[in-house]
C-alpha cells in the first residue's frame, strides 16, 4: 500500500499495516527532518525492520540530497539475512508500483562466502552489516571510514550497544598473548633484516614518510572525508612520528622493551588496579618509555606492516592488539582502568595472570559515529528505561519514544510469582540462594508448569553456576524425574556446538508433540539471539533476577565511573542491566501478534516498582495489580485459563480494524487521531 506520512509518499510492501508501525514511521520521519538522533522502542514482531526500511528508502527518494545512504547495523548474520529479505521484498514492490527500473543498490556484509569486491559497491544506497564494522576501531577503519556524512545509521536490537562499545575498546592481555607477541616481533625482525639486505630503499622511503608525519590523514580528517577513529587521536595526526621509533629496528627494539615490561607486570601475586596515568608513570620509571612514542605505537606498527608487505594480518593480531593498547593507554587519561589479576576468581589456586585494560565509557567508541552522521537511530524491542541510553552513550536525541503493541486479544500474560505454596518467599538473592525451600519451590513451579503448558517451555537462570546447583538439587529431590514424565529436558551449556544440538532436539520435541523444556542462562546465547515462535515457546520462566556478577572488579570500576561521570547510582545501573536482560529473555516468546505466551517472573523482587518500572512498556501494561505476588498454585490456575483462552480460534478478521489496518481504515479520521497519540514520549 501507499502511505502518506506527513507529506512523504511511502511505499509499504504489505496490504495491511499495524497502527504502531504507522506511528513509528511518523516519529522516524520527524527525527530525519530534524537531522538528529533518535531512540525508539517497539516490541519485536511488530515489523520494525520493514517500517524503518520503507520510510528511509522513501525519504532517500524524495530528498536525494539530504540523505544519500542508509547504514543498517544488526547483530548477527541471521538477523542481517532477515533484513536483506525484507529489503528485497520492498524494492520489488517499489519497482512494481512505480514502473521504474531498480536504481537502488543494497549491500550486505555478512560473511566471506557472500563477498564482493566490485568497486561499484562503494556507491551502494543501503549498507547492511554488523555493529562491529562501525564500532570496533580495528574493523571500522577498514570498512566504514569512507562512508559519507549524509547517511542515516540505524542500530537495530541495540539494547546491548553499550556493552558492544565497551568490548570493542577493551583489551585483555594474558601470558599467551605476550608469547605470541614475542614471536610476532621476532618475525618482524627477521623480515626487516631480509628486506634491508634486498631492498633497503623501501625502508628509507618509509622513514621519509614518517618524518612528513601523518599529514595526509590529518588533511583527510579536516576535510571530512573519513570517519574518525578513536584509536587515532587528533594530536597524533598533527605531529611527526617521534624519532625514537622512526626507524624500523628502533621500533622493534621499542616493542621488545614494552613487552618485557608487560611481562614483568603480569608477575604479580595480588590484584593491582591503577589508572592510565599511574601506568604511564610506572612504565617511564621502570623502562624509560615515554608517553609520546606509545601514543604513536598503533600507527607506527600499521605503517611498518604495510612497508614489509605482510599480507596475512591475522598472524599479527597479537602485536596489533598490544600496539592498540599502547596507543589507547597513552591517549585517554579517563574512561579506562587497568586491572591486573593473578588468577581467576573461581580458581584461586591456578595462576593465570590477566591484564584487563577495560573501557568504562561506551561513549568513546560510539562518539565518532554520532559526530559524523547526521541521524543515528537506536532501536530495539527492549530499551526501557529510555532515558538511560542517551546518558551512558553521551548524546542528545531529538526523539525518544516507546511504542506499545496494539492487540486484538491480550496475547501475553506476565505473572510475578513471589511465593511458593508454603508461603516461602521465592528469590534468587544471595542470602537465600542455597536455601533448600526456595530451590524446592522453584522445582515445584517448573513441575506444575510442565503439566499445564503445551509444547515448549524455556526457563532462564541467572548464571551457569546457579543453574548447575539448582538442577543438581532437583535431581536429588526427584523433581527432575517427575518433570520428565511431562516433558523432555534440554540444557544450555557454555559450549556452542552442544547448545545448538540441544536446541535442535528441543525444537523437534516441540514439533512432534512430546513437549520439552529448555534450561538456559540469561545473557547466554539462547537469551540473545534465538526466537521461540509459537509452539517453540509457550512459556518463559525467569528464575531470579539476572544481576551481573557484582564482585567483578571490572564491573565495580565501571559502576564507580558511571557514578562519578554520569551521576547514575550503582544500584540503578545494576537494576537497569538486570531488567533489560530479563526483558530480553521473556521477550523471546512473543514474536508477533498471532503468537502468544506466558511470561513468568519467579522472584518476589520483580513486584517492586523500581524493577517493574524498568520493564518495557508493552510488557508492563499487561501486569495487573492482581498478579504481582502470586503463589505457585495461583500461577498454574491463571496459566491454564490463559492458555485455554488463547487456544480459541483467532482469525485475521478479528485483528482487522483494531491491531491490523487496511489503507482505508488507516486513513479514517478517528484512527489517525488515535495513532498520533500513541507514541509514548519518555
Amino acid at each position: 500500500m501507499k502511505l502518506n506520512i506527513e507529506g512523504l509518499l511511502v511505499y509499504f510492501p504489505y496490504d495491511y499495516i499495524y497502527p504502531e508501525q504507522y506511528s513509528y514511521m511518523l516519529e522516524l520521519k520527524r527525527t530525519l527532518d530534524a537531522k538528529g538522533h533518535g531512540v525508539l522502542e517497539m516490541p519485536s514482531g511488530t515489523g520494525k525492520t520493514i517500517s524503518l526500511l520503507s520510510l528511509i528508502l522513501a525519504y532517500q527518494k524524495a530528498y536525494p540530497l539530504e540523505i544519500t545512504k542508509l547504514i543498517y547495523c544488526s547483530r548477527t548474520v541471521p538477523e542481517i539475512e532477515k533484513v536483506v529479505e525484507e529489503l528485497r521484498k520492498l524494492i520489488e514492490f517499489h519497482c512494481k508500483e512505480t514502473g521504474e527500473a531498480n536504481n537502488f543498490l543494497a549491500l550486505a556484509l555478512s560473511s566471506r562466502k557472500n563477498l564482493c569486491i566490485h568497486p561499484e559497491i562503494l556507491h551502494a544506497n543501503i549498507v547492511v552489516y554488523s555493529y562491529h564494522y562501525l564500532l570496533d576501531p580495528k574493523i571500522a577503519d577498514l570498512v566504514s571510514k569512507e562512508l559519507t556524512k549524509k547517511a542515516v545509521v540505524v542500530f537495530d536490537e541495540a539494547h546491548n550497544i553499550d556493552n558492544v562499545c565497551i568490548d570493542s575498546m577493551s583489551v585483555n592481555i594474558t601470558r599467551r598473548t605476550l608469547d605470541r607477541c614475542t614471536s610476532n616481533v621476532e618475525t618482524l625482525q627477521t623480515t626487516i633484516q631480509r628486506i634491508k639486505e634486498t631492498d633497503a630503499a623501501k625502508l628509507k622511503e618509509e622513514y621519509r614518510r614518517l618524518v612528513e608525519g601523518l599529514k595526509e590523514a590529518n588533511v583527510a580528517r579536516v576535510t571530512d572525508v573519513y570517519l574518525g577513529n578513536p584509536v587515532l587521536p587528533a594530536e597524533v595526526l598533527q605531529e611527526a612520528v617521534p624519532g625514537s621509533i622512526r626507524t624500523a629496528e628502533h621500533f622493534v627494539g621499542f616493542l621488545k622493551r614494552f613487552l618485557e615490561y608487560l611481562k614483568s607486570r603480569l608477575r604479580v601475586h595480588h590484584v593491582v588496579q591503577e589508572s592510565a596515568p599511574q601506568f604511564l608513570k610506572d612504565i617511564f620509571q621502570k623502562v624509560c618509555i615515554d608517553r609520546k612514542p606509545l601514543r604513536f605505537c598503533a600507527e607506527r606498527l600499521r605503517s611498518l606492516l604495510r612497508t614489509l608487505e605482510i599480507s596475512d594480518l591475522t598472524d599479527f593480531s597479537a602485536i596489533t592488539l598490544i600496539s592498540n593498547f599502547a596507543t589507547l593507554v597513552s591517549t585517554y587519561s579517563q574512561g579506562f582502568t587497568i586491572i591486573i589479576e593473578p588468577f581467576e576468581d573461581r580458581t584461586p589456586s591456578i595462576a593465570n595472570p590477566v591484564l584487563h585494560f577495560s573501557c568504562m565509557d561506551p561513549s568513546i567508541a560510539i562518539k565518532p559515529v554520532f559526530e559524523r552522521f547526521q541521524s543515528v537511530i537506536i532501536t530495539s524491542g527492549t530499551l526501557s528505561p529510555l532515558d538511560i541510553y542517551p546518558k551512558i552513550l553521551d548524546f542528545r536525541p531529538v526523539t525518544v519514544a516507546s511504542f506499545t503493541m496494539t492487540l486484538a486479544r491480550t496475547c501475553l500474560c506476565p505473572l510475578i510469582v513471589g511465593r511458593g505454596n508454603d508461603q516461602v518467599a521465592l528469590s534468587s538473592k544471595f542470602e537465600t540462594r542455597e536455601d533448600f525451600a526456595v530451590i524446592r519451590n522453584y522445582g515445584n513451579l517448573l513441575l506444575e508448569m510442565s503439566g499445564v503448558v503445551p509444547d515448549g517451555i524455556v526457563a532462564f537462570f541467572t548464571s551457569y553456576m546457579y543453574m548447575e546447583n539448582i538442577v543438581a538439587s532437583w535431581y536429588e529431590q526427584g523433581i527432575l524425574e517427575n518433570i520428565q514424565r511431562n516433558k523432555l529436558i534440554f540444557i544450555e551449556t557454555p559450549d556452542a556446538a552442544e547448545t545448538s544440538m540441544a536446541l535442535e532436539k528441543y525444537q523437534e520435541a516441540c514439533e512432534n508433540g512430546r513437549g520439552a523444556i529448555l534450561l538456559s542462562v540469561a545473557r547466554g546465547k539462547v537469551s540473545e539471539g534465538i526466537d521461540f515462535v509459537h509452539h517453540f515457546g509457550r512459556a518463559v520462566i525467569m528464575f531470579g533476577v539476572p544481576y551481573v556478577y557484582t564482585q567483578s572488579r571490572i564491573l565495580k570500576a565501571r559502576l564507580e565511573y558511571l557514578r562519578d561521570q554520569f551521576q547514575i547510582r550503582e544500584n540503578d545501573f545494576l537494576t537497569f542491566d538486570a531488567m533489560r536482560h530479563a526483558a530480553q529473555c521473556v521477550g523471546r516468546v512473543i514474536r508477533g501478534k498471532t503468537d502468544y505466551g506466558l511470561m513468568i517472573f519467579a522472584d518476589k523482587r520483580y513486584a517492586r516498582a523500581d524493577k517493574r518500572g524498568k520493564l518495557p512498556r508493552w510488557i508492563q501494561e499487561h501486569i495487573s495489580d492482581g498478579s504481582l505476588n502470586l503463589t505457585v498454585d495461583e500461577t498454574v490456575q491463571m496459566s491454564k485459563h490463559f492458555l485455554r483462552q488463547m487456544a480459541q480460534p483467532f482469525r485475521q478478521e478479528d485483528q482487522l480494524g483494531l491491531s491490523l489496518l487496511t489503507i482505508e481504515q488507516l486513513e479514517s479520521e478517528e484512527m489517525l487521531k488515535k495513532i498520533s497519540q500513541m507514541a509514548h514520549q519518555a
Binding site: 499445564v452 513437549g515 491454564k640 485455554r644
Partner: protein, 387 residues
Amino acid sequence: MDEEPERAKRWEGGYERTWEVLKEDEFGSLKATVEEILFQSKRKRALESHGQVRLGMMRHLYVVIDSSRTMEDMDLRPNRLKATLKLMEAFVEEYFDQNPISQVGLITTKNKRAEKLTELAGNPKKHLAALKKARDAACVGEPSLYNSLNLAMQTLKHMPGHTSREIVVIFSSLTTCDPANIYELIKTLKSLKIRVSVIGLSAEVRVCTVLTRETGGTYHVCLDESHFKELLMFHVKPPPANAQSECSLIRMGRCAHVCFSQTLKHSQTHLDSTSEVGLSLGGYFCPQCHAKHTELPVECKICGLTLVSAPHLARSFHHLFPLEAFRETPLEELPADRFCHACQGKLKDKIVFTCPFCSGVFCTECDLFIHDSLHCCPSCINSQHSN
C-alpha cells in the same frame, strides 16, 4: 450415582477467580452481562449451519477418548474422564438421532497404547454400555496419538468411498508418546481422506494443530463444561463432503414394523447377540430376504441390505435442506401483539426472531427448538394447512 454427578467440594477444585468473569453494566448490575453471554452462546450454533452444500450423510466415525493420567484432572466436574464419558453418552444418542444411517466406534488410549472399546456399529446400545463400563477404568500413563489414529485408520480405510470417514479425538494430555513419526501418519490419513478433528481439554498442542489442518478437520479447545458440550455436539452435524469423494446410489430396504401374535420367529439380530437371547412379537422384515430384525437401522445379517425406516431417512434428509436462520429483530419494532407464535408465551427478551417466509415471530427458546429439533417452521406449515 449415575444421575447425580459426584460433586467435588469447592476446596478440592482449583483456584478460581470467579469475580473476574463478571462485568458490571452501566447501572452496576451484573445480570445483563450474564444474560448476554448465555444468549450469544445459544445463537452461535444456530447460525453456523452450512447452507446448501453436499454433505457426507453416511458417516463412519471413530471417537478416540484419551484416558491418560491427565484425565484425572478435576477442572471439569467431577473429573475430566467422567465428564467426558457423560457427554459422550449424550453425544452418541444425539448422533444416532441426527444421523440414523451412520456408524460410530470408540477407542481409548492410555499407557502408550490404544484399545478399541467398541467396533464401528450403527446401534447406540452397545456404545452406551461400553461408555458406562469405561467409567470405572483407571487413568494411567500417557496417551498415544499415533497408535489410536493408526487403529482407527485400519478400519476406516476399508469403508466405501462414498462415506465420510472421520475421527474425533478428545485429547486431554499435552504430550503424546508415539512409536514412529506422526507426520508420516498424517500424510497417510490425508491420502485416505480421513478427516481428523480434535477437542482439546487443556491447551493448544502443536501436533494437533497440524493434524487437523492437514486432514481438514477442526481443532477446538474447551473453556468449560458447557463449551465442551457445545464443541462435541458440533460433530453431530454431518460435515460437508470432500469434493473428491465418490458419489454412488445405495440400495436400502425400507421396512415397516409388523406385529405378529401367532408366529413367533427368532429375529436375526437376536441370533448372534449373546446377552439377551429371546423371542419377541414385533419386528421388522427385510424386504429382500424376509429376515426379521428387532431394531433399525441395521445391516441385514442375511443379505447385507441396509435396512432403515422412513423416519430415519427423513431425519437425515433435513441436513440437506436446513431451515434458514430467522431474522433477529428488536422487540420494540413489533406491533402490540407480542406473543411467540410457537409457545404462545409473552415475548420478554430484547430480541425476537422472525421467519423470513411467513413472518412468524418466535422467542429465543422456540427459535432454538425449531432449528435444533423441528427443522421446519411451525407457522409456515400451519399457513399451508389453512390454505
